[in-house]
Symmetry: C2
Subunit: 299 residues, 2 copies
């Protein structure tokens, strides 16, 4: 099972009652955090996401509303006794950013492992799944993230018995790990549909995003502007309008869509939601603390 | 009139419902902000303190819980169109800190004027009054701040008439500014008692603080630990216990005392408040948004 928690849904400035856009993906109590604006650690605590058990922090880009919560997050991890390394990924510039922030927040009792220029690297293993970065279209180098939790093929007990595999080893093989000299592929059917969560902000609609979001269980996307009246602004600042978001979600065939990263001028998400629903009826308006538990399909 | 607004009362980590310790002193709509931990800009907005109209940001020291809100505050000022220079003061290390934070938050459309090693400098003029920094006793160089709003002497209309000063000039002279070749001292009595607000955290009780707080209208002081059971910890980490705070306030003869900068382990301020009141009965427990309007004494 996987839990997606939208820690905040705001863009540019944190507001009372609206933290900056950030998503936590949690599997087995451990999380991956995507973006960390000012106030993210408080939002995590408010919505039950453990700061201590964050396995990785993924940054889309280095505008302030996506990164200013980092030094406080690190220091809280340190105060809670973390010694395990923290994986951090982001577009080019990550090492420079981390070094500058460590000038004011360091030294820390844990190492930071950098995956710079993440969109050009392969998938990063984390939480028993993988994260793949992909390029977005913003005013500055920016990437989205697709987290995939794979699902092994169906276990074949008859085959396991025929091979003489002791029952005590079945569970391990079922989880895709070798046991007692046996390989999972000997007793598992073809891999089944896993789970995929995609986070993409700040961005214009683009092909790389539509491709990464294909068939996703959940897409959270930059919905800075409610309607196409703001299209010129969206183009100028590298954001999307809600109708564009609805169209992209429909084109990518996602199962669920959450709007996030609203402009500070958007006090009511309803008009933007309606505009997105015209193209993708299942669209939902993101809000701070919005949470979803995703399970593997019944088969 | 002067308004003191406690924007947050927490130490170390921001919590849901408890922002990090920060005080805004407001005169005529413009403010001086003392300390700026993560979340201070949101607290300011929540409690009606204009970020745009902040004349100065004073830092007590450079631990994360007092400074990590700065880059976000600056960018919000920039987004709101600020071009006026921002005065910043702090203990030695200010320029280095500002430079490091500008690496991630800059460039800004306004200049930052630095008053480094503020406790060794004279009073800084701001909001029609002055701010004087003074040294505190913490684990790192740290200073408290005393903001004083002076009050001119009583205006003597008989004397003004005798000198032939046109009535149109009276108000300016009354406010302490020369007008039409006349000097305020020609028509004003001796200066009267003004207003003084003193903010001191993080610190052990110390002589410089007791002296700076003498006769203050309001003292906000580090009350990290509730009772003297925590005295060893208070000494180790450079903080104060509530009984120590009560004793210092009584010794300095302050008019009002607010406890602030509670340890994250303090969920109920009542025991600490009772411990402070044993020495200073008028002590009050600080809370996020606690506000006081101070007026000149009736005479």
């Amino acid at each position: 099972m996987l839990t997606a928690t939208l820690l905040g849904c705001g863009g540019t400035q944190p507001l009372p009652g609206r933290a900056l856009s950030s998503l936590a993906v949690t599997v087995g109590g451990h999380s991956v955090l995507i973006d960390c604006g000012e106030g993210t650690q408080v939002a995590a605590r408010r919505f039950g996401v453990s700061v201590y058990k964050m396995a990785a922090v993924l940054l889309t880009h280095y505008h302030g509303d996506h990164i200013f919560g980092l030094p406080g997050l690190w220091q809280t991890m340190a105060a809670q006794g973390r010694t395990e390394p923290l994986l951090m990924a982001g577009p080019p510039g990550l090492e420079q950013l981390v070094r500058a922030l460590l000038c004011v927040a360091g030294p820390l009792p844990f190492a930071i492992q950098l995956a710079e220029d993440a969109a050009k690297a392969g998938p990063l293993p984390v939480l028993g799944g993988t994260v793949q970065a992909f390029p977005l279209r913003h005013r500055t180098p920016c990437c989205g993230y697709a987290f995939t939790l794979p699902r092994a093929g169906r276990f074949n007990p008859a085959r396991a018995r025929a091979l003489g595999i002791p029952v005590a080893l079945w569970r391990t093989l079922q989880q895709g790990r070798p046991a007692g000299g046996f390989q999972p592929r000997q007793v598992l059917g073809p891999p089944r549909r896993g789970l995929k969560v995609v986070y993409a902000t700040d961005t214009r609609p683009c092909g790389a995003l539509e491709q990464a979001a294909r068939d996703a269980d959940l897409l959270c996307m930059d919905s800075t502007y409610p309607t196409d009246e703001f299209l010129a602004k969206a183009r100028e600042y590298g954001h999307a309008t809600c109708p564009e978001v609805g169209r992209l979600a429909a084109g990518a065939g996602v199962r669920r869509l959450w709007l996030t990263h609203y402009s500070a001028a958007v006090t009511d998400p309803a008009p933007g939601l309606a505009a997105a629903q015209a193209f993708f009826p299942a669209a939902e308006a993101g809000f701070d603390g919005k949470q979803l538990q995703l399970k593997f399909d019944e088969e």
